[in-house]
């Protein structure tokens, strides 16, 4: 349940921070790929998202390949944030 709320929060963050006008946060699938095909985001969006997550959710996203795994989907981000907070 807690994870579901976190996912929703991340979706709202995505739309607001990346300025995805006209996109309904609730319409983003938990496991939809964010980059490339999926939402069509790019590396600069990833950096902006990492900055926003650090600022708004208090969790620092590591750089490089590790970030790529974390940013696969909203679900993957929520898992990482929950784990980091729990640790």
């Amino acid at each position: 349940m807690k994870l579901q709320g976190l996912r929703s929060e991340i979706k709202r963050l995505l739309v607001a921070e990346l300025n995805l006008k006209g996109r309904d946060p609730e319409g983003i699938e938990d496991d939809a790929p964010l980059f490339g095909g999926g939402l069509g985001l790019d590396s600069l969006d990833a950096l902006q998202l990492a900055m926003s997550i650090e600022e708004k959710l208090g969790v620092r996203i590591p750089e490089g390949d590790e970030a790529r795994t974390i940013f696969q989907s909203v679900g993957a981000i929520a898992d990482y944030v929950a784990k980091a907070r729990g640790a």
Binding site: N19, K21, D42, S43, L44, M51, E63
Partner: protein, 750 residues
């Protein structure tokens, strides 16, 4: 074979030394000037290593207020002065042009002030420090200390600015507009760029290591580099010896991504090939490449991919190095500093090294020059790469004048033979489209022609609903949004091919609002709160880069700054490139959304432009398609007007205007951005004094784009048959640009 353009003087300020001699000695020795930042507090920065230049004193004879000086300007004066001294160039005895590239201008001196103005534009604090802020302030300081320069252009194409200054200089010399050009770039370190590049994770905490297996980014440096360029015949007649020849150049836009290079490196490879063809050399003649070599993981891979594409088998022979591991990435100065270094490599037969290369990346198949310089005796030709945000890239080729590569046939130039004559346009240039984006929406040619007859535009913001792909434009700032929509409208109406089309936009202050918001966050919440998506919007050329990507335009791109004649300066630069055969067509214009801080800054620089008879401020973007008459005819384009003369002055406007031909028979008008006493005085002694006058401010409102509006209105009125001829006059505190437009040949009776 020879383009006949010689480098006759060089000047440098770099982190390795405050002149050419000391920089060169330490470069060849492999010294690295990288250390922790001392210029400002580096606490909480992701990476703190930078390359700071030795402090350069402000010239004592300067009469400008100390608040009008920036570190950028002080370094520029030192480097340009050295270049002019070494070329024995006296601007009082020749027509000398000045082209200054840069990105930050006086940002270091003003970023604290901007942060305080954010959200409090009416803050009672003095704005005096903003005098140092505009990109054009450096040109003004150079004009005061080293002038008089006959023609001045301040430009930015992000990290290729310094190289694009040299490309434009080549166009000026080919046109014969000037006898010599002092061209280069200057950029000082500041918090904004360090926070910004850190936010992009583009800085190596261990210091820049180009081509290294474990490279993690660049190091920001600072400095200035200037070259004196002139036609060989001029240099010979002055008895001046060349350092090297500027034999080839090419400039263009990837139209791919604002911060990421296109992975295949196709545009970069084609620019290298075009620059070599221009120089009449092939890869087998090139003995050295100074890479852009920033040391970011992606740049070095893409650059080597592009090099392999352009050089083929010769990659196994040609040494490649990057000086950024020693002096850092000097941003707007880098293209010029590295051009100076490359000219020295050719002149001295010594290759500069890539420092810190103890473990080269095995994935990069490059002939390196590791650690220290290498004496090779002879360098027949060398290439210097410069890439910028928005994929705005430029390539320069220098050749050894004493023993140039064996002659071969040169690429056919689109350009004219060297011509002369004040303001004459050798390759006929025409206007084939205009668009004006004013509240509430986009205007086409017919409506633009009737602007002077119409009511005042509403003050409501421009409505972009439905006109912009909001997802593709999600990171655009308001300037880029207006520009993208206005350019889109221009290209649709003029049916211009995107291939080869470039963009030059005028912007007096760049993104002051964006910079203020960015720095406010940094000062308020710390460097880690710097927004990576915002940062690329803060370079003055951001709207050009974003618009080129949005519209898919691959031609040359840059921004120019010239206070209230920035839009006219953009038009003049576009005409110069097209007239010299450097570009088939250019979109020239300006985009200026209303903004609170912008308003305050304008009131400091242009106190007379506010409200009243000139109308309140409004959102405005104006775009003009400037095209070679030949190209326009070949694609059967509708020609709105012919560009007959462009005349520019930095002091004596009356003398300059006397070169403008009097109006011929047929209706004619003087079209102005706004009325002013300065315009009255200039026209009084001019052959155009009796012509009817139109001012755009009462109809379009006040805006930094208004000078472009005047040109668009004049062209549209000629196209609609209202007049046969127009003089557009833009003035800015003693400087000015006059444009004479004519009805195109074969249309009506003029």
């Amino acid at each position: 074979m020879s383009t006949g353009l010689w480098v006759t003087g060089l000047g440098l300020v770099t982190p390795l030394g405050a002149d050419v001699g000391s920089t060169w000695e330490r470069l060849v020795r492999g010294d690295r000037a990288l250390r922790s930042v001392t210029l400002f507090d580096g606490a909480d920065q992701r990476a703190t290593v930078v390359a700071e230049a030795p402090s350069v004193r402000i010239p004592e004879k300067s009469l400008a207020s100390p608040s009008a000086w920036s570190r950028t300007s002080a370094m520029a004066v030192a480097a340009a002065s050295e270049a002019m001294r070494s070329a024995h160039l006296d601007p009082a005895r020749a027509r000398v042009g000045l082209i200054v590239g840069g990105t930050t201008g006086g940002m270091f001196e003003t970023e604290g002030l901007l942060a305080r103005l954010h959200g409090a534009a009416d803050h009672p604090e003095s704005l005096a420090a903003m005098l140092s802020h505009p990109l054009s302030a450096t040109g003004e300081r150079l004009q005061e200390c080293l002038g008089p320069f006959a023609r001045v252009r301040s430009l930015s194409s992000a990290c290729s600015s310094g190289a694009n200054a040299i490309v434009l200089a080549a166009a000026w010399l080919q046109l014969g507009e000037v006898d010599a050009v002092v061209a280069g770039g200057s950029d000082a370190l500041c918090r904004l760029t360090l926070c910004g590049f850190n936010s992009l994770a583009a800085i190596d905490p261990a210091g820049c290591r180009p081509f290294h297996r474990h490279r993690r980014g660049t190091t920001l440096g600072e400095g200035a580099g200037f070259l004196v360029l002139e036609r060989a015949a001029t240099a010979r007649s002055r008895g001046v010896r060349p350092v090297a020849e500027l034999a080839g150049w090419a400039s263009g836009s990837e139209a791919y991504h604002i911060t990421q290079p296109a992975p295949g490196g196709e545009l970069v490879a084609s620019l290298m090939t075009r620059a070599m063809a221009r120089a009449g050399v092939s890869p087998s003649d090139i003995d050295y490449v100074h890479a852009h070599g920033t040391g970011t993981p992606v740049n070095d891979v893409v650059e080597v991919t592009a090099l392999a594409r352009a050089f083929g088998r010769e990659m196994a022979r040609v040494p490649v190095s990057s000086s950024k591991g020693q002096i850092g990435h000097t941003l707007g100065a880098a293209g010029a500093i590295e051009a100076v270094i490359t000219a020295l490599v050719v002149s001295r037969g010594i290759l500069v090294p890539t420092a810190g290369l103890d473990d080269p990346d095995p994935a990069l198949e490059v002939v390196h020059v590791p650690h220290v310089g290498r004496e090779v005796g002879r360098v027949r030709a060398a290439l210097s790469n410069a890439f910028g945000f928005g994929g705005m890239d430029a390539v320069l080729v220098f050749t050894d004048v004493r023993s140039p590569p064996a002659p071969r046939s040169r690429a056919p130039s689109n350009g004219p033979e060297i011509l002369s004559g004040e303001g004459a346009i050798p390759e006929p240039v025409v206007i084939t489209g205009v668009s004006v984006l004013a509240s509430p929406s986009l205007l086409g040619c017919a409506l633009i022609a009737s602007i002077p007859d119409g009511p005042t535009a509403p003050t409501a913001p421009v409505d972009l609903e439905g006109a912009l792909d909001v997802v593709r434009a999600r990171r655009f700032d308001p300037t880029a949004r207006l520009a993208a929509v206005a350019i889109d409208g221009l290209l649709r109406e003029s049916r211009a091919p995107v291939d080869g089309t470039g963009i030059v936009l005028g912007t007096p202050f760049g993104s002051v609002d964006g910079s203020a918001a960015f720095m406010h966050r940094v000062f308020d919440r710390g460097p880690r709160a710097a927004g990576p998506a915002e940062f690329p919007n803060l370079v003055p050329s951001a709207a050009v880069g974003n618009a080129s990507i949005y519209a898919g335009l691959h031609g040359q791109g840059f921004a120019v700054a010239d206070l209230s004649i920035s839009a006219e300066s953009a038009f003049a630069a576009a005409v110069e490139l097209v007239a010299a055969g450097e570009a088939p067509r250019m979109v020239a214009g300006s985009s200026d959304p209303r903004s609170a801080i912008g308003e305050r800054v304008r009131s400091l620089f242009f106190p007379a432009h506010r409200g009243g008879a000139n109308g309140a401020r409004r959102d405005l973007a104006v775009m003009i398609l400037v095209e070679s008459q030949r190209r326009a005819a070949a694609r059967e384009a509708t020609v709105l007007a012919r560009v007959a003369q462009v005349v520019e002055w930095r002091s004596d406007g009356k003398a300059a205007l006397s070169a403008i031909e009097p109006p011929r028979e047929g209706a004619h008008e003087v079209v102005l951005a706004r009325e002013s006493a300065e315009v009255d005085a200039l026209l009084e002694d001019s052959s155009w004094r009796g012509s009817p006058r139109i001012a755009c401010a009462p109809h379009l409102g006040e805006s930094d784009a208004l000078g472009g509006g005047a040109i668009a209105v004049a062209a549209a009125r000629i196209a609609r048959g209202s007049i046969a001829e127009a003089l557009v006059l833009g003035v800015s505190g003693g400087s000015g640009i006059a444009v004479r437009l004519l009805r195109p040949a074969g249309v009506g009776r003029g």
